[in-house]
């Protein structure tokens, strides 16, 4: 079931004369229960998209449906109610500094008009226990670490039992270790509550760790969308490529390819294939020598993957490739154009090294 859908949404800032288009026709459909990533470099229109989805602003044209309701023309009490169905987690936490941790979590309940102190206390207690902060209930935000503050932010966002959790660069202000633990918490919440999570970020690493599907936003348009595995391992659009390259330093590998004898391929292993000793097999059985030029090994969510750039030479390359294909390894032949792109970067970096 689609829980958030945008159809041909546009949004322009600034008045007449020198207006700046922030979104130029965005189509997006987020399914109920999934962790959906929206990734883009700064200035791509992410913030605008967030303010549209959490209903702080309205699309200029196009339609926006949230939680099964068309949002056009909704105002007053109805709008406030609809906003409460979307929990929001912010990059800079946006906690109230004058309120304690418990009061911060109670805040959205009070805004929603919950009067019973006992009900509020019970809900706050349960939420703080869930995010592992019950010992800090009476502290003020400034006494907490960044990771703890974000946990308060998450508890607060969940207080009114929203259908959607919208995370705007929720881990961008945190160190890698804390980022992992906050992402793990989000992932657990997604599974436990079946809550839809929309995660806006500028780093592929965040997407790789918890998202099921991802949309790439570039200059106000969605340029690529699909399962994280596909988008991360086989990026098609230059903007996606740039974001993936930021996460993995692949230039060297492709650059080296130019100086290597043999045909260069990119092999992508996923799941069980990651652990099979397939390269050794093909070397023995098909007489194919291989040189590993570069690559990365890691996990997408919890599934292992490996992506290697390899030069094959000698032997029966054709049957070796067939063998790889049969084993479930994705094989792409790298064209000289692929290699040149990286080679330029490589030359630059070597020149820099010479200067140094």
């Amino acid at each position: 079931m689609t829980i958030i859908s945008l159809t041909n949404v546009t949004k322009t800032y600034g008045g007449s004369g020198r207006s700046v288009p922030a979104l130029r026709g965005v189509d997006l459909a987020v399914q109920s229960g999934e962790v959906f990533g929206i990734i883009g470099a700064s200035g791509a229109g992410k913030s605008t998209l967030v303010r549209l989805i959490n209903l702080l602003e309205r699309p200029e044209t196009g339609t926006l449906t949230v939680n099964g309701r068309a949002t056009a023309g909704v105002g007053g009490r109805e709008l406030l109610k609809l906003r409460r169905e979307i929990g929001m987690v912010f990059q800079h936490f946006n906690l109230l500094s004058a309120k304690t941790v418990a009061e911060n979590v109670a805040f959205p309940l009070q805004l929603a008009g919950v009067r019973s102190r006992a009900a509020i206390a019970a809900r706050v207690d349960a939420l703080l226990t869930r995010v592992g902060l019950s010992a800090h209930a009476d502290k003020y935000p400034r006494q907490l670490s960044g990771g703890q503050k974000q946990r308060v932010g998450i508890a607060r966002a969940l207080a009114c039992r929203p259908a959607i959790l919208l995370c705007d660069e929720a881990t961008s202000a945190l160190d890698p270790e804390t980022t992992r633990s906050v992402l793990r918490l989000l992932s657990e919440i997604n599974q436990e509550l079946g809550l839809t999570i929309v995660l806006i970020t500028h780093t592929m690493d965040v997407v790789r760790q918890i998202c099921h599907r991802v949309a790439v936003l570039d200059a106000g348009r969605i340029v690529e969308t699909g399962p994280v595995e596909a988008v991360f391992l086989h990026p098609r659009h230059p903007a996606t490529l740039a974001l993936v390259r930021e996460a993995v330093r692949e230039e060297k590998a492709a650059g080296n390819a130019l100086r290597t004898a043999g045909d260069v391929f990119r092999l992508t292993f996923r799941g069980a294939a990651t652990y099979s000793p397939i390269l050794g097999h093909i070397a023995r059985e098909h007489g194919v020598d291989f040189a590993i030029l570069g690559g990365q090994i890691g996990t997408i969510r919890d599934e292992p993957f490996a992506q290697l750039t390899i030069a094959f030479s000698g032997g029966d390359v054709r049957s070796a490739l067939a063998r790889l294909d049969a084993a479930g390894v994705d094989v792409e032949e790298l064209t000289p154009a692929d290699a040149t792109l990286g080679a330029q970067a490589d030359v630059v970096s070597r020149e820099l090294a010479d200067v140094a």
Binding site: N54, L82, M88, F90
Partner: protein
Amino acid sequence: MSLDRIDWPQIGFAALDTLAMLGGALFFTVLFGLPLGVLLFLTGRGQLLQQGAVYAVLSFVLNILRSVPFIILLIVLMPVTTLITGTSLGVRGVIPPLVVGTTAFFARLVETALREVDHGVIDASQAMGGTIGQIVFRALLPEALPGILAGITVTAIVLVDYTAMSGAIGGGGIGDLAIRYGYQRFQTEVMIVTVVLLIILVQLLQAAGNRLVLHFSRK
């Protein structure tokens, strides 16, 4: 010069008058200035109730009030004061011009204190479905409390200054004593005592203000 010539009970009564003017004027200044400051903030650029025209008019009027020297304000407002309190003399006759003189100043301080509040807090409250009233009373004002308290402290000290000045046109209090005895009758010792009293009062106000601000600061 001798301290024997000082009429201590008279100084005591004058000090009480000064405190009464200060307390009364401060109360009304906060009563009028706080909502004005909130309105000024909310109608400002990029804020919840952005209203260019309202902001411009409000800002213009407040600036006019702030640019009139207080001693002139005292004289100009005499008829209005008489209308409100029945007299333009003494403690009661001074409170209206004091309030007019400091409300605009205090409203600006409130606006500044509210602007200091992280805009993210407003975004968050809005995203949580808060109404403007809820956002003002439950988020903005509590967050800006230390800044507003600091503003009240500064305003109180300006008021001490103004009450002393009002002695020149028949207001009561320590300032009145300083002018009538210290200046017009050349009783230097009265002048010194009144100045010392004013210094002590200002120091106490500042110290109390600082403690309050510190107590409510959570940043």
